[in-house]
Structure formats: C-alpha cells, structure tokens
C-alpha cells in the first residue's frame, strides 16, 4: 500500500473540519471518505473498509470512544490505525482514546500543515506492525503444522513452548541433554542421539537438533530443539542386523532365489553342506543340487505346493559338488510383496545324513538280529502278514519252515558261546544261500530260524527246499579250523492248508519241527493235526519228569561188569530208570535228551550220584569192594558238577574214591577244551576212575586218548551185538582192542548176550564185559543178591 492510494475515513460532526481534512489529505494524494457521526462511520467502514480512520472524540449520538471500540471489534477493524482528535490538554480524553483502542491522537485545533505528515507516519508505522504480526503468525503456523516435534526452552531447560507434534509425542517431557559439551561455532547447532520416554511411556530413540537463541527481551540464551524419532529406523536396522547374523551363522543352509528360481544369495552353511561357494551358486538355479533320486512327479508336487500354499517342506535327496548324494530336510517359503506377488523364494535345508543313519540304525535294531543280520521275530511277523495279505488278494500259497539246529546246544555248551555264535552266523549264510531273493530267512530265537517262502503252493516244492536246506546244514562247518557237524530239523506248514494266521502257522510249524526232531533229527515234517496231541504228550512228559524226583519215580538199577580173565565181579554200572505211574518204565533214551534240553539233567544227575553214593556206602559196610560207574552227561561236566561237589559227596558218604567211576562220552574229549581237560585231571586226581562210554560210535581222537587220563574204553553194544556174524563189526572190535591194547587201556565190552560173543571177546583179548548174558540191569536189592552169590559181599 502506498500513500497515494491510502483511503482515509474522516469522521467528525463538524463539516469544516471534514472539509479542511479532505482538502489537506487529498492534496497529499490520499483518498478521503467522510462520515458525520459514529454510526455512519461504522457503516461506511463495514462496507468499504479503509486504511486509516481520523475520529473526532466529541460527537452526538455515538461518540468517538464508542465508535473506536466498535471499530476494533469488527474483523477488518482490529488492525486499522485509528487516530483520535481530542482537545488540547484533555489528558483524560487522551487516556480514554488509548483505552478504546486508538492508535494515536491529534490535538485540536489541528495544525493542518502537519496533518499529512502525521498521517503518513502513522500509516507507515501501522504497515510495519502489520507486517511483523503477519510474519510471526506465519512462523507460528509453520511450526504448529510441522510433524516434527519442537520444543523451546530457556537457559535453565524450562519448557517455554512447544508445537503440537511435541505435545502429542512427548508432552510434558524434558529433553535429554547432549552427553558431550560442544563449544565454539558448533555450539550453535548440536545434533545428538538420545533415548527418551514418550508421552505414552515408550522408550523412543531420537536424534535431537538443538540450537541456541536469545528470546527478545531476554539476556539469557535458550534452546530450540527439533526431535527426530528414529525408533522405527533403529528397530529396522536391528532386525536387519539380526537377520544378517542369522543368515551368516545359521547351521542350516539358506538359499534365496528370485521368483524365477535364480539364486540370489546363499549363506556359509550352504557352502559347508553343498560344497558350492556363493560365487558358484549365485546366478544358477537350485537344480545345481538336484540328485537323480526323485522323479518328475516329486518335483511337480514340490512346485505345486509352493504355488498353492507358498511353502513346502520335506526330505529331499540332494547332490553335493563332489557328487555325493545326501538326504536333506528342506523348507522353502515364498516371499510376497504387498500385492501378493512372489518376489523371492527362501529355502532352508540341513544335511540329515546323521539322523538318517540313526534312524536306519534304530530300524535295524528293531527289525534285525544283531548277531546274524537276519530279520528278527518282529520283522518276520510283519513280512508274514504282508505275504498273507498278498496271497489272499492274488491267490496262490505260501510255505513257512520252522528250523531248529540239531546238537547246537552241545556246541554251545562244550565249545562256548563264541563258537555257538559263529556257528549261527554261518548257518544264517547257508540258509540265505538256499532260498530266493523274495524269500525271508529270519532268526526266530536261539538256534531257531524261520523260512518264509511265498509262492510255494505244493508240499512237494517245500520238501525239495527242505531237503536242500538239510543237505547244506549237514555239511561240516569250519569253526576256527575245527570241523563241526550239526544238522537241523524242519517243520513245514502251508497257507492256507495248515493255518490261516501268523500265530497258528508258526505254532503248527513249531509242532511239525518238534516232530521232525523226535523222529530222529536232521529231517523235516509237515504239520499234521495229530502232532498237537503228540506235542501235548511230550509236554506232559516234561512236566512229569520235573515231578519224577519228588514222587520217587526215578530209580537206579545196577548191571554187573565181569572180569573175563578171573571170571569175577569187577564192578557195576549204575543205570537210571523212570517208573512212570501211567507209562510204566520209560527208557533213559527217551527222557535223558529231554532232561538235557530242559536243564533237568543237573537235578537228575545230582540225585543219581547221591543215590549211588548212598547205596555204595551201604554196600561197602557189607564188604563190597568194587567200583560203581555212573554216567555223566557232557552238560553236567561242563556246567555244574564241580570237582569240589564230588569231593564233598565222597566225604559225606565216607567213600573211597576208587570205588566210584564216571562214564563220559567221547564228545567231551573231542573238542579239547581246557575246561574239560582240567575237570578230568582233577577228578582223576581225586582217585576216581574215568571211562569212555560208547567208544567207536562217533568220532574219536586218538591223540586225546593218549593225552587225557582215561581208565577204560567201553565198546558200544552195537558193535558187540553182531560180532559173531558180521566180519566188519568183528574187525572193528578187534581194531579197538588192538589199539586200546597198545595204549594199555583196558576195554569193557557192552551188550554181551551169549556165550559165542563172550568166547570171541575173550579170544580177542577183551578184559571186561557186561550184558544180559550175565545179568540185565536190576534194582539194588536184586543186585545185592546176584553179587552175593559171586561172593562180593560178606556172607
């Protein structure tokens, strides 16, 4: 606005004053409007405004003071300069004029020559003031609308003012001071990071820009601070750093690809696991790791799941840079942007070789026999189940064979478990060689094996396989350079002929095997319903045998041994008999193997020894002076019958050791165990005689006859029986006698039944004999009578 265009409203009820004012002002370039009273002035101002009002104090109706007041209340009138015209010396009026809002005053009578000057000055001052006020308002608005919190403090840190942003975020909080003092030029602007509590009690990370200023009218500098809240940025940074650390140090391999599958980044674990460095992997596709273990369908499923659900996880075979295939646990996730577009795929995977191995180990332990490596009972049941399901669905048949090794227990007992284990392993190998790939050979327990033969529908086929198996198992085994010969008994069942479920089939196969065993071993039998009855009988025999001792059903019989040179009684052999309440006399051949199998032999053997020693004691008091020989099972010798217990027995019955003799079989010697040798030497050391029973029926070791302390050989009755008629047998007996003669070992011929045999034996130089020809085995009382007649007792 310039003076030329400034519009001045002259308000006075005196027309002269108005005229003169107009005259002067217009001459000085102002535009003048007139009002003759307050009301008119107000109306005019409301309608057109004005840049300055000259207002007379004394007017009718609305006086100058009231008019001034009302003008000031008008929106456009608050800032307009109002100059009141007062009388001279009227200081009361002057004061009232200021009170009413007047800007200045002029004293009447007006000195017209200076009015224009006065108006110009007032206008200029007014313009200046308006400008200042506008700028201040602008600045205030600027600060108030700014989202950046700003706080103004005095030098003591008292809050002077703040903007709404500060009020919202940090209302009522004071600012942390900078930690380091700054000086010099930099002191004007300080920038520092700090933590501060928000109005809502959150801890915020902030950057404070602080500058000093001196407020108008103050001598002390205060501070203006702008506070930048960087909490979000800090958190993002932290997250970023964490992610990077995880990426770098994760044990899992991490591979990030773009949406087309091009590898963008990999972590160190990726390199460790796959062997590919970052440079080698980046830019390639994950097919770098592809093994040929999965078919197209697998990968189709993989991509399908990724597309549909955005993630996939599972086991996958991968290939390392060196070509090695390994199992990996893979987890892939699609990363999408806000629009749902896939921007990346992130794959995590770990090498689970160890876990796999452990799983396999667990699986193996659960399903396989650790000794032989064959399927165990649990896996067998599963396989049979599967095979049965297949047969039910597709027809056909299957065979099960229950196989038990013959004489295994002997090997185990005489040679030890290590040998037994080796024998089982070799057996397992042979069995596997006898069957097809599709068949299963399982170790059922101990020395029992099961053969599962799917597709065998006819007994004749099963028989052929059983024969092959028996033939193979009967071949000598080489255990640590010792030849061992065993055999096996096999029970055969067919599905569906002999049972319809696993349990029944196995039970029946077991029964059939048992039947094979009892019918002479090293043979096979198929299941027949009557077997169950036989089995029951066998079981009841076992039960009965356990009770036989308590029920006094066992007895010891005695058979005399004659000296062929002197024709005198040379002793007797004690023989066990079992008088079964229903079955009558059961022969030792029927129950001793059972006793050995069940371990009852220890109890029975001990009973026999005790009984014989008792009898012997009684007889000795009547003048009996010849040895009684007692049969010992190899099981007894190697497990149970200690030399000490024998010694105790002799003492308890006050027996001289030379009145007792033990008969053992060659099998005890043949394996040449240190244990057997020590036992024999200790027994001989006590003074007890040791005879070899059944000589010539099995294998003999000539070297051991010489080495072991043996007192007599007993020729088995099977050789003696046909000695007169069969030249072979005669030659054999002759050979044994010749050999024993050379070794100075006396020989006892068993089973002598007639005079002819006796004559022949005598002629061949046999020294002792026993048999029906002299006496069958008889109870003790009868034997006393028999021996008495020969003068073996006091009269």
């Amino acid at each position: 606005m310039n003076n030329g265009t400034a519009r001045i409203l002259v308000v006075d009820d005196d027309p002269t004053i108005r005229l003169l004012a107009r005259e002067v002002l217009e001459r000085n370039g102002y535009v003048v409007a007139e009002a003759e009273n307050g009301s008119q002035a107000l109306r005019h101002f409301a309608a057109t405004g004005g840049d300055l009002v000259l207002l007379d104090v004394m007017m009718p109706e609305l006086d100058g003071f009231a008019t001034c007041q009302q003008l000031r209340q008008m929106p456009t009138g608050s800032q307009v300069p109002i100059v009141m015209m007062t009388g001279l010396e009227d200081s009361v009026s002057i004061q009232r004029a200021y009170d009413a809002g007047a800007t200045d005053f002029i004293v009447k009578p007006i000195i017209w020559s200076i009015l224009a000057q006065r108006v110009r000055y007032i206008l200029r001052a007014s313009n200046a003031l308006r400008e200042v006020a506008g700028r201040a308002a602008f600045q205030r608005a600027l600060i108030e609308t700014m989202p950046l919190p700003i706080l103004v403090e005095d030098a003591q840190g008292h809050s002077l003012t703040c903007n709404p942003a500060f009020e919202t975020l940090f209302g009522g909080r004071s600012l942390p001071r900078p930690t380091e003092s700054v000086s010099g030029d930099q002191a004007r602007l300080q920038v520092y990071e700090a933590d501060m509590l928000s109005a809502h009690q959150d801890r915020r990370a902030v950057i404070i820009h602080r500058t000093t200023f001196t407020p108008p009218g103050s001598s002390e500098a205060g501070f203006i601070s702008a506070i930048l809240d960087i909490t979000e940025r800090k958190q993002n940074e932290e997250r970023q750093r964490l992610a990077e650390t995880v990426f770098q140090t994760a044990a899992s391999a991490i591979m990030v690809t773009d949406p087309t599958g091009i590898v963008q980044s990999v972590n160190p674990a990726f390199t460790t696991i796959t062997g590919y460095s970052g440079d080698e992997a980046i830019g390639k596709t994950p097919s770098l790791l592809k093994s040929d273990r999965h078919d197209a369908q697998f990968y189709a499923g993989f991509w399908g799941a990724l597309a549909e659900t955005g993630h996939w996880s599972g086991e996958m075979w991968q290939r390392r840079k060196n070509g090695q295939i390994y199992p990996a646990w893979v987890s892939v996730k699609a990363v999408r942007d806000a629009d749902g577009q896939v921007v990346q795929y992130v794959a995590f995977f770990s090498d689970i070789t160890e876990r796999k191995l452990a799983e396999q180990e667990i699986f193996f332990r659960a399903n396989y026999d650790p000794l032989t490596g064959l399927p165990n009972r649990s896996l067998l049941h599963e396989r049979i189940d599967q095979a049965l399901r297949r047969v039910r669905r597709h027809g056909g048949g299957l065979a099960l064979m229950f196989l038990d090794l013959d004489r295994f227990k002997q090997v185990n007992d005489t040679l030890g478990h290590a040998w037994g284990d080796e024998l089982l392993c070799q057996t397992a190998e042979r069995l596997e060689a006898c069957v097809r790939e599709t068949d299963t050979v399982a170790r059922y327990s101990g020395d029992e094996f099961i053969l599962l033969l799917p597709g065998i529908a006819h007994l004749s086929n099963a028989y052929a396989i059983a024969e092959k198996v028996i033939q193979r198992i009967s071949q000598p085994f080489d255990l640590n350079n010792t030849v061992i010969q065993i055999g096996c008994s096999i029970g055969i069942v067919l599905y569906p002929d002999h049972g319809s479920d696993v349990g029944t089939l196995l039970r029946h196969a077991d029964l059939a095997m048992y039947q094979a065993k009892t019918s002479g071993r090293n043979t096979y039998r198929r299941y027949e319903p009557v077997m169950a009855d036989q089995m029951l009988r066998q079981l009841s025999l076992e039960t009965d045998l356990r009770l036989a001792i308590q029920h006094h059903e066992l007895m010891v019989y005695y058979q005399p041994v004659l000296n062929l040179k002197s024709n005198r009684l040379a002793g007797a052999e004690a023989l066990i008999r079992w008088r079964h309440p229903r079955r009558g006399l059961v022969s030792p051949g029927d129950f001793i193997p059972l006793a050995e199998e069940t371990g009852l032999i220890h109890e029975i053997g001990a009973w026999v020894l005790e009984n014989v020693c008792q009898t012997l004691g009684r007889w000795c008091r009547k003048g009996w002076r010849a040895p009684i020989s007692v049969n010992l099972s190899s099981v007894q010798i190697l497990h149970g019958l200690t030399v000490e217990s024998v010694e105790t027995l002799l003492q308890r019955h006050a027996l001289r050791p030379e009145w007792l003799a033990f008969e053992i079989t060659e099998s005890v010697l043949i394996h040449d165990t240190r244990q057997a040798q020590q036992w024999l030497e200790a027994i001989r050391g006590l003074g007890i005689r040791v005879d070899i029973d059944d000589f010539g029926t099995g294998y003999s070791s000539l070297a051991y006859l010489k080495r072991f302390p043996i007192d007599r050989l007993k020729i088995d009755q099977s050789f003696v029986r046909d000695i007169a008629a069969n030249a072979n047998d005669r030659a054999l007996v002759e050979a044994i006698l010749a050999m024993a003669g050379s070794l100075r070992i006396p020989v006892v011929a068993e089973g002598v039944e007639n005079q002819e045999q006796l004559d022949l034996l005598r002629r061949l130089g046999c020294e002792y004999a026993q048999g029906f020809y002299f006496s069958k085995p008889v109870p003790a009382e009868e034997f006393v009578q028999f021996a008495g007649r020969l003068g073996a007792f006091h009269a």
Partner: protein
C-alpha cells in the same frame, strides 16, 4: 610228508596246531623249514595272500609249478615201492612259496581244482614215463584236497587222466585228508574212485578226529600215520604204548597197510619195523627230489636195496632252492 601236505591241515583238527593257534602262519613255515631252505623271509601273510591269488592263477600258465617226489619204502623188503608227488612253486616275485602258504589260498579261491588236476596229470605222466624207461613199478601218491573231491567231478577227472596218460590205475594212490571222511557226500565219491581201480590212502591219520566206522565202511587201502605220532617213537620209551603203535595195531586188525611219514631217525625206523609198520617215508630215506634225480636214485637203490638213507653222493647235486 607233513610240510608238503600242510595245505590240508587247516581242514582237520590237529592238536599241535590247535595249541599254536596264536602263532602266525609263517611260524609253521619255520617249523617245517627244513624242507624249505630260506623260507623264513616270508613277508606278511595277509599281503601275500592278496597278491598270491593272481600270481597263483598265472603260475600254472607260466610253468612256475613243479613236482618233487619223495620215495616211500617197504619195510619188509627194503624196496622203494612208491613216491609221493609234492608241489613246488617258485615265483619270480615271491620266491619259493611253501605249500602251507599257497594251498589254503588255492583251496579258498577254488584254484585248487585246476591246480589239483594239473598235479594229477603231471604225476601220472611222470609215473608212466618211469615205467617206460624201465624203472621198477612205483606207486604214485597224489594229494587230493577237499574241494577237488566236492566241487569237481573227481571220478571223471581221474578216469580221464588215467586214460590220457595210460597209467595203470593201481599205480595211482590218492591221499585223502582224514577230515573228509566225515562227509557223507565223499563216501560215494571214494567208492566211485575205488571202482576205477586206484588206491586210496588216508592222509594224516589220527591227528584229527577219527571215526573207526569209516575205516571199515570206506574202501581204504592205506593209512598214513601223521608224522606228529612218528616223532613220539624211537625215543627210548616204550614204543608199544604210543599212538603210532595203537594205529598200527588197529590197522592190522582192519587189514589196512600203514605208512609212517616224517621218519627222520634210525631209531624211529627201528621202532616202526618192530611195530610191524608196512612202509615209511621221510628224510631218513630221502628228501623230495625232482623227477630226474628220483630216477637215478631209484635205479641205484634197486641195485642194492637197504634200509638206510638213499645215498646222496650217488645222485647229481641238486641246486638248493
């Protein structure tokens, strides 16, 4: 003789070997080393057996195998009545390999079958040649290994070789390891061989487990007493109570002739004669020699039979191996 037939020993139970179970194979080599001069430089057995299989396979082709023969004498007449054919293998890399080393390898790998057949053919050819050049009748004893009897068809092989070489069957004696008699399948084979007219001997009798029944049932002609028992006699104690005596007595009862192997001293010889042993073989009589030396030796001996050592100064010096 033990050291040459040692290849079979692992297949039978031998008391002495049993007790020496910790001893590595080369210690056996030194124990029997008198027949294998310089054989104590045997390298580690394991590496050798790896190498050996391949080398042994080639040995047949490259004629590295030869037969030596050890005479057997009848103790009644003092005549040389037979020889035992014994394998020798001299390999450029391994040097002299003892049968105790390579026979088990051959047995394990199955090479024993062609090896055995070669031996049989070579021995029969040699026997035939000796007949042709006018040497007194000599029985040719050849060792048979377990796999030869079970894997191959020994009857056909023997029949063919006899036909090819024209040797009279009763001049051939097959030495069967005792342990094999235990096998049911071997009995038929032995009967078949017997039908061909060859003689059957049991090698190393008594050292392992013996079944007296087999001696009667099987068509055995001859028993070879294991040399471990021969060692026990002639030592001044009562020979009548030795196992050798027991075996001889038993064999006489069974009408089998007995030959003692590994006879080394005059005292042993005297004892064997006293025990009525039929024949003997061993260093006392002669060590094994190549065929040409044997011919000379036997010719000389037949001019003046006797029970002493076959005079070495009457045969050409044999290069020591």
């Amino acid at each position: 003789m033990r050291n040459q037939s040692a290849g079979f020993i692992s297949n039978r139970m031998d008391g002495r070997l049993q007790n020496a179970e910790v001893a590595p194979p080369h210690s056996m080599g030194t124990e029997w080393g008198h027949a294998q001069p310089g054989s104590n430089r045997i390298p580690a057995a394991a590496t050798r057996s790896v190498d050996m299989t391949g080398l042994l396979r080639e040995a047949l082709v490259h004629r590295e195998l030869t037969l030596h023969y050890q005479p057997q004498m009848d103790l009644d007449s003092g005549r040389i009545v037979g020889v035992e054919a014994l394998l020798r293998w001299q390999n450029p890399l391994l040097g002299n390999v003892a049968p105790a080393e390579f026979i088990p390898v051959a047995e394990k790998t199955g090479l024993i079958v062609p090896l055995g057949e070669w031996t049989l053919r070579a021995a029969c050819t040699q026997a035939r040649i000796w007949r042709e050049i006018g040497l007194p009748p000599l029985r040719m004893a050849v060792n048979v290994s377990p796999r030869q009897l079970t894997d191959a068809e020994p009857n056909q092989v023997v029949a063919r070789i006899l036909r090819e070489t024209g040797l009279r069957p009763d001049y051939l004696e097959l030495e069967i390891p005792e342990s094999l008699l235990a096998r049911d399948d071997v009995a038929d084979t032995l009967r078949g061989l017997k039908r061909l007219g060859v003689r059957l001997a049991i090698d190393g009798f008594g050292a392992g487990r013996s079944n007296l029944g087999h001696l009667r049932r099987l068509p055995i002609d001859h028993i070879k007493i294991d040399q471990s028992f021969v060692r026990d006699i002639g030592g001044g104690d009562d020979d009548q109570t030795t196992i050798a005596a027991a075996i001889i007595a038993m064999a006489r009862s069974l009408r089998l002739s007995v030959i003692a192997e590994g006879v080394e001293t005059e005292a042993q010889l005297a004892s064997l004669r006293a025990l009525h042993c039929n024949e003997m073989q061993g260093f006392l009589l002669s060590q094994p020699h190549p065929a040409e030396h044997i011919a000379t030796l036997i010719r000389n001996h037949s001019k003046s039979p006797g029970f002493g050592r076959l005079s070495p100064n009457r045969i050409p010096a044999e290069p020591r191996e």
